[in-house]
């Protein structure tokens, strides 16, 4: 254990302390302040759990989480099974399509569905024109709409986890069950599914946490009585009503606590039980079945249905982006490039900001993530597991919590938030786990003997890293880099609290254009532009890593 490694660990810890622990503890401290006095206490928390309004919001959010989890599971289990087990045509295409929402910004989906399923959206207009219905059906405004939109956005997490599970289970378990006489559905329920618990839980946690994080979807649908939306409104609309502000912060802290506890609970649950088989020689493909005709047809129909819903997002946004005044008509009639002209001529700043901020965040990410991965995988520095843990925990923190805590922590005492560098810093802190994970797993795959050989031959550690490790790591790191960039590029929850005039990014531009004016086409065009950029980046990763599934989820399945 060398001094250099310890020094590196100290350095990384100080970055974490400054960018994660310090702001988040300020956030927690702030939630104990009592409005109108300089005293502290748990009054805000008591108020939160006594106020029927906040309690109702909390209950609503929990209910939404449960419903979204149920829906995604219900639709995800068959889908994952089809994708993992059935031999069928177009596997890659379907997988890519179904996984697409992971990289699409959530708000893009909402806008598309509002256009398509709105009261006078395409579906309702078509139904009314054909005379099937008299009055428009309310497809999306309400709890059901929220469940639908959020479920579609979160479905890939369940599918990915489960299909990885279905693929990697040792086939001998199922064969044993078959031999014992359990067949078909029963075997699936009692053997296959329980074996997939860990990989299912990995996705299910992320799904369950989403309604505690997503403030924008409820806001756009006009259903604001959910925890993240209420805290957004309390904090972003009331700058001097201190009680309101503290209650908003309490709501953020409460949802963070819920998120972290559930995250830890799932982790503990998976680790408590052992799910490994004895045999090592499983095929990489897993069990693949040739289904019967009828099953195959319904499997295709099912996949087409889900993939179609996902595809609606880019298609509808594309239609809206290339048209103007698309109102009260099932399909646009007035085609134009004006929206793009407006974006490129009048606000190229947004695109520039998005690229600059995400780019700088990426540089920070690499400068931090590579040494961190190295420490965690290759050394025995004390506290490296804690480092890993803290960084992974960032996945569970709602974006609002990060944004608000940065605003509180870096305004007066350390006036970092007055400079635009806060934007890439916040993006870096929030999206770090994505890069670290990728770098981490590529390090794991890199055989240490190669590095040792180099060092034995008398080459120093630094040169070994640049000449031996880095080229070998490059593939995984590049995927991590692009993934990090995509996630930083579409981040809005944190940025919306930190941006000031002139620092707007594309996602903020989409939000503002949608919310504050009739510039609907421009918002759609911006969202479409983001989808195109994301798609190009995705193509790049799939080239690098040879598969979209791997690209989106990293090597190693879960």
């Amino acid at each position: 254990m060398s001094r250099g490694n310890i020094f590196l660990a100290e350095l990384l810890w100080s970055v974490i302390a400054f960018l994660v622990i310090y702001p988040l503890s300020i956030l927690v401290l702030e939630s104990f302040k009592i409005a109108g006095t300089s005293s502290w206490g748990i009054k805000n928390y008591l108020g939160f759990f006594q106020d029927t309004y906040y309690l109702k919001t909390f209950g609503n959010t929990l209910l939404l989480s449960l419903l979204v989890l149920m829906t995604t599971t219900l639709f995800g289990v068959p889908l994952a099974y089809i994708l993992a087990r059935y031999r069928h045509w177009g596997k890659t295409v379907f997988t890519a399509l179904i996984l697409l929402p992971i990289v699409l910004p959530a708000y893009a989906g909402v806008f598309a569905f509002v256009i398509f399923f709105g009261k006078y959206g395409t579906v309702n207009l078509l139904l009314m024109d054909t005379g099937l219905i008299e009055k428009p059906i309310n497809f999306i405004y309400g709890l059901h709409g929220l469940v639908f939109i959020q479920s579609l956005h979160m479905l890939p997490f369940i599918v990915l986890g489960l299909s990885a599970g279905f693929t990697t289970i040792d086939p001998s378990f199922e064969e044993a069950a078959e031999v014992e006489g359990a067949s078909g559905f029963w075997r699936f329920l009692t053997v296959t599914l329980p074996l997939c618990t860990p990989s299912y839980l990995a996705g299910a946690v992320i799904v369950f946490l989403w309604p505690f994080t997503d403030w924008l979807t409820p806001l756009i649908l006009g259903q604001v009585d959910f925890l993240p939306s209420v805290s957004y409104i309390n904090i972003a609309y009331h700058f001097t009503d201190m009680h309101r502000k503290y209650m908003g912060i309490v709501a953020v802290v409460v949802s963070s606590i819920v998120c972290i506890s559930i995250f830890l609970l799932a982790r503990w649950w998976v680790e408590r039980r052992k799910y490994t088989g004895l045999s090592k020689g499983t095929t990489s493909e897993g069990r693949v079945i040739e289904p019967s005709g009828l099953v195959k047809v319904s499997a295709y129909l099912y996949m087409f249905f889900i993939a179609g819903l996902v595809l609606l997002i880019p298609i509808v946004l594309g239609l809206a982006a290339f048209s103007r005044r698309w109102v009260l008509e099932p399909f646009p009639t007035y085609w134009t490039l004006e929206n793009f002209k407006l974006i490129l001529l009048e606000s190229p700043l947004l695109i520039q900001n998005s690229f600059v901020f995400s780019g700088i965040a990426l540089v920070f990410g690499i400068a931090f993530g590579l040494p961190a991965a190295y420490l965690i995988v290759r050394t025995r520095v004390p506290g490296k597991d804690a480092l890993d843990f803290v960084i992974t925990l960032m996945l569970a923190f709602p974006g609002i919590a990060v944004g608000v805590s940065y605003l509180l922590a870096f305004w007066n005492t350390i006036p970092l938030a007055r400079h635009w560098i806060i934007m890439p810093l916040a993006l870096f802190a929030r999206r770090l786990p994505y890069f670290l994970r990728m770098a981490h797993s590529s390090y794991l795959q890199l055989d240490i003997s190669l590095e040792e050989a180099s060092e034995v031959s008398g080459v120093g550690k630094v040169r070994t890293f640049f000449n031996i490790s880095l080229p070998l790591l490059l593939k995984g790191v590049l995927v991590g880099v692009v993934m990090f960039f995509i996630m930083a590029f579409q981040e809005i929850s944190t940025a919306i609290f930190l941006y000031r005039g002139g620092w707007e990014t594309l996602p903020i531009g989409i939000y503002l254009n949608w919310h504050r004016g009739m510039e609907f086409g421009i918002a759609a065009a911006m969202a479409f532009l983001m989808i195109v950029i994301t798609f190009i980046l995705l193509l790049i990763i799939s080239r690098i890593s040879g598969g979209v599934l791997k690209a989106a989820w990293g090597p190693g399945g879960t």
Binding site: F7, G222, A236, H238, L328, F364, G501
Partner: protein, 461 residues
């Protein structure tokens, strides 16, 4: 060796941060910052116009930043939060109460722009500029409601003409407005109702109106957007020029001037402690010049100077002047004749925060309770009426249901009102309509109990 890795990393990161900082700060230009609730079209138009003017007059570029944290109340709160060290120079937009509050709290400095005398001092009782020069109106408008004519035709509904028309049950679920803390126009609407109808009646009205809503929008622009796209056909509390702007964009939106309304003097002021005060003053002078006023109209707000004639601008080939003339029906904004109320500005300024909070806590947060309470009251009222038509004695039930309505409208006690309505329904004379429902529920319960028992019996072990 190892130290070098660390040193290189640190150096790389630090030097990059420093470089980026320098790159950003290198070209220092003349700057001016605006904060305010004006719409994007206006800020963009003024941005274009002022930049061109600055270049022409001073031979330099000017850097303009504009932040719109939200509606007026949000902007006022933002300026309060800056605590005298503003992040902008100009408070651009918002009506008289917002400016009066900021003036009273000492966040403004007086400045009299050139051509100040071209703005009227007062109009139908509403202050249009401050006599101490703290704020001046640059774009007046009137509080209106909007509707989407195509959707209303489709639904076979007539446009609602008066405030009371909006309470007609045929419009239920087809109306949208926002919250007073999110939008100054909504706040002014509350003031109009409070001052025109009296406090008690106004709150009763607002409770009933809330039951008519499809939902609350997140801001007045959100309301316009929903009406323009037809999602919800009627939008309450909207700036008058939104209809003009939407029509210019090709949406079938019309405005309704309700019988009682006010003028909103969208005004501008110089902030105390402004970092670029000198440029701010140049901007104010320009804004009230004929050229600046044209950019106001180009930004889809009505221009404020009294010496403006739309027909003159129209002859110069200025397209927006035609739209404005068509939207207003007169040649200058100040020729309008509308049913204005006598607006008590000091009172409105004083209770600004209280009104917003009362609405939010008593109506918005209890919205679902409010709706279910009112629907029960309406149901029972119908039953009582039906019983009366059958010549039953309903005096007791009638008294009770009246009490329920009073509890609902005047006191805002939704749960108590519900209780009173239930009691009224239970009074003997009122017909026993829900018996069918009760029988159905009992049967359903019985069946499920039997099912559960059977299921439990069948279970092995």
């Amino acid at each position: 060796m190892r130290k070098r890795i660390v040193a290189t990393t640190i150096f790389a990161v630090l030097s990059m941060v420093v470089l980026m900082t320098f790159a950003a700060e290198a070209q220092a230009k003349d700057k001016v910052g605006w904060v305010g609730p004006v719409y994007k079209e206006l800020s963009q138009s003024l941005n274009k116009g002022f930049k061109a003017y600055y270049k022409k007059t001073y031979g330099k570029d000017v850097d303009i930043t504009f932040v719109r944290p939200g509606g007026w109340p949000v902007c006022v709160d933002k300026i309060r939060a800056w605590g005298g060290k503003p992040d902008a120079d100009i408070f651009l937009g918002a009506g008289a109460p917002a400016h009066e509050i900021l003036k009273g709290e000492g966040f403004l400095v007086p400045y009299r722009p050139k051509d100040w005398d071209k703005i009227p001092a007062e109009w139908h009782g509403m202050k249009v500029k401050d006599k101490d020069d703290y704020w001046t109106c640059f774009a007046p408008w009137i509080v209106t409601n909007l509707y989407n004519e195509k959707i209303l035709q489709r639904l076979r509904l007539p446009p609602p003409k008066t405030w009371n028309d909006l309470l007609n049950p045929i419009y239920r679920g087809n109306i949208v407005h926002t919250l007073p803390y999110a939008s100054g126009t909504m706040h002014e609407t509350l003031e109009i109702l409070l001052q025109a109808f009296g406090e008690k009646e106004a709150w009763a009205y607002l409770r009933s109106l809330a039951a008519q809503l499809a939902r609350f929008s997140t801001g007045s622009t959100d309301t316009t957007q929903l009406v323009a796209r037809g999602e919800i056909p009627i939008g309450v509390a909207q700036p008058q020029m939104n209809a003009m702007a939407a029509r210019k964009d090709g949406y079938p939106v019309r405005d309704l001037l309700p019988e009682k309304t006010i003028l909103v003097p969208e005004a501008v002021a110089l902030l105390k402690g402004a970092p670029n005060e000198a440029t701010g003053k140049i901007f104010l002078d320009w804004l009230f010049s004929m050229e600046g006023q044209k950019y106001v109209l180009e930004g889809r707000y009505f221009a404020a100077r009294t010496d403006i004639k739309f027909s003159v601008w129209e002859k110069e080939g200025f397209e927006m002047a035609t739209h404005a003339k068509k939207a207003l029906g007169v040649d200058s904004f100040w020729d309008l004749d509308v049913g204005f109320i006598e607006y008590d500005l000091p009172l409105a300024t004083k209770r600004w925060d209280d009104v917003n909070r009362y609405y939010e806590y008593e109506i918005y947060r209890k919205w679902s309770e409010l709706k279910s309470s009112l629907s029960l009251i309406e149901e029972v009222e119908g039953e009582v009426k039906a019983a009366k038509a059958q010549e039953k004695d309903v005096t007791k039930a009638e008294a009770k249901i009246k009490e329920a309505r009073k509890l609902f409208e005047t006191d805002g006690k939704y749960a108590e009102a519900r209780l009173a309505a239930t009691e009224a329904r239970a009074l003997p004379a009122a017909a026993g309509l829900p018996t069918g429902l009760i029988i159905a529920i009992v049967i359903a319960l019985l069946i499920s109990v039997v099912a559960v028992v059977i299921a439990l019996r069948r279970r092995p072990g």
